[in-house]
Symmetry: C2
Subunit: 328 residues, 2 copies
Amino acid sequence: MANMNDVAKLAKVSRGTVSNYINGVKIKDILAQRIEAAIEELDYVPNQAARALKKQSSDTIAFILPTIWTPFFAELTNHLQLELQKRNLKLLLCNSNNDFHLELEYVKMAKEEKVKGIITISYSDIEPYITSNLPIVSIERYFNQRVPFITSDNFVGARLAAQQLHQRGSKKLLMILRDIPDNLGIYERMNGFIDYCKHEHLDYEVYCDTGDSLGFASRIDAYLQEMYKQDCPFDGIFAVTDRYAEYVLHSFESLPWHIPEDVQLIGFDGARSYQNQSLTISTIAQDIEKIAKMSVEELINFDNQKERQNKHILPVKFLEFQTTRKLK
Amino acid sequence: MANMNDVAKLAKVSRGTVSNYINGVKIKDILAQRIEAAIEELDYVPNQAARALKKQSSDTIAFILPTIWTPFFAELTNHLQLELQKRNLKLLLCNSNNDFHLELEYVKMAKEEKVKGIITISYSDIEPYITSNLPIVSIERYFNQRVPFITSDNFVGARLAAQQLHQRGSKKLLMILRDIPDNLGIYERMNGFIDYCKHEHLDYEVYCDTGDSLGFASRIDAYLQEMYKQDCPFDGIFAVTDRYAEYVLHSFESLPWHIPEDVQLIGFDGARSYQNQSLTISTIAQDIEKIAKMSVEELINFDNQKERQNKHILPVKFLEFQTTRKLK
């Protein structure tokens, strides 16, 4: 296989000139043409690892997320990758499952400049390892002053969910959530919901589960079966994610009350399992495409000298589907 | 910042010994301990690009797929990544959208050993660029004798769908598919469906759409609205994917016939949008976790000297949900 010396010899230039050409250093046009011709003739493949060593930078972005296997994360990853592709950047997917050590490995890769930077939507405690010159952008979780931070307006979104339930005729509201440590977005949603209920003097309750993710569907079901067996104590339910709202919808299939006639239901996220999927559950929708765009832009423009934080709180909106009644 | 010479000096070993240690070459325990201590004291970070250059291999696998944004691909990617993580391998995600040039770039990366290999589930024509020493595994699409190939048994699965519809009381069957060039899996499903219908002398029809993906939902809807407006010509529908079955289910919401009472419906894939999601549509389920496991195993054991092809056709099974009637 041809090496750089062969190219230099054939092009009648020095090895250093070939090296400069390959690494994108500006050289004379006439030399560049000769090198190009030689590369083509010899079918020379520049060694990428050698180039990376020289340039000390990579065209890869690590995306750390808890799992790819939810509509929200699949849709977000799709948009992130399309944004990166526009800039000839690649995406290294790190399904962290909130594994601290795995996430640290990616931070280390970024420090060694093996990846260009990190976009993270995770909740383990890597903050102490983030130095000021590490290109990183955080979605949903606040780290510190220097890390650009992108999130949806969870407080206003949850307030809007309570308001929509109320305006469409619900009088007693239930909120369903699962406590995920360090997931401040969830707490913001709880606060927004409570804020509206207090402001309007509505009866409300918050069902806050503290168990694991996989058993949550059956715990919600047991709770609702017991609660709604004989009576209909809450005529409006706000589930903190669309997934939990799906669990609620499923439970009501075997209850004597109907959605939305007796009980209205609103979820949160508005993610689709595939492009143009028809949604069923009324929801507070995040602007997932915009989250992706801003994350990539902030990472590209990352500047460790910046003092002020780039904090973006993106608006959300109510989408009406089949689990709420019409506004009168 | 400390370099390898500093480590060698402090550990009182040669630079070559440090290099061997870092690159995983076996050295004496006592020396390894001294080097470890020196690395820790100096906070030395080995340069990854330099290591890659030395080892001429990467710990990254490129996964080429049309999009991450469907339940099937999200679930498959999830399992692939978990399998790779067990082996300390990383996943570079290539959302190709069947873009030929983008896919070629990944093939080039693999040839330059910037990635260790490729797992592909795509339908563009990269075959001429695949050389016999390129570690590659193909899911669903057959390339050639030397490329390990993993697929579900599409023919038997579609036959099973027709059989289940028939055994559960349907007499006239409709199959709905969209023609995707070079997607042989789809054709296999069509052949399996037709094979059963002919064998059992059933009336059947195949609705084969040739338009684009995004408009398919509305074209199916127009077709079904017209067909079922006054009459119920087919009492069993097999949709070639669960997604298309979702479109069918949606259309029947505004038709005078009910699923599964008047019309039974079976999809194909059995993918979930998230772990433990409750499915609604009866389906022929692929073993997605097994597809992921075999793909990674075949890639790890890739051997360009092998003459025989590693072809794996994995069994599928019928899952009964709410769109079919009980077996009598």
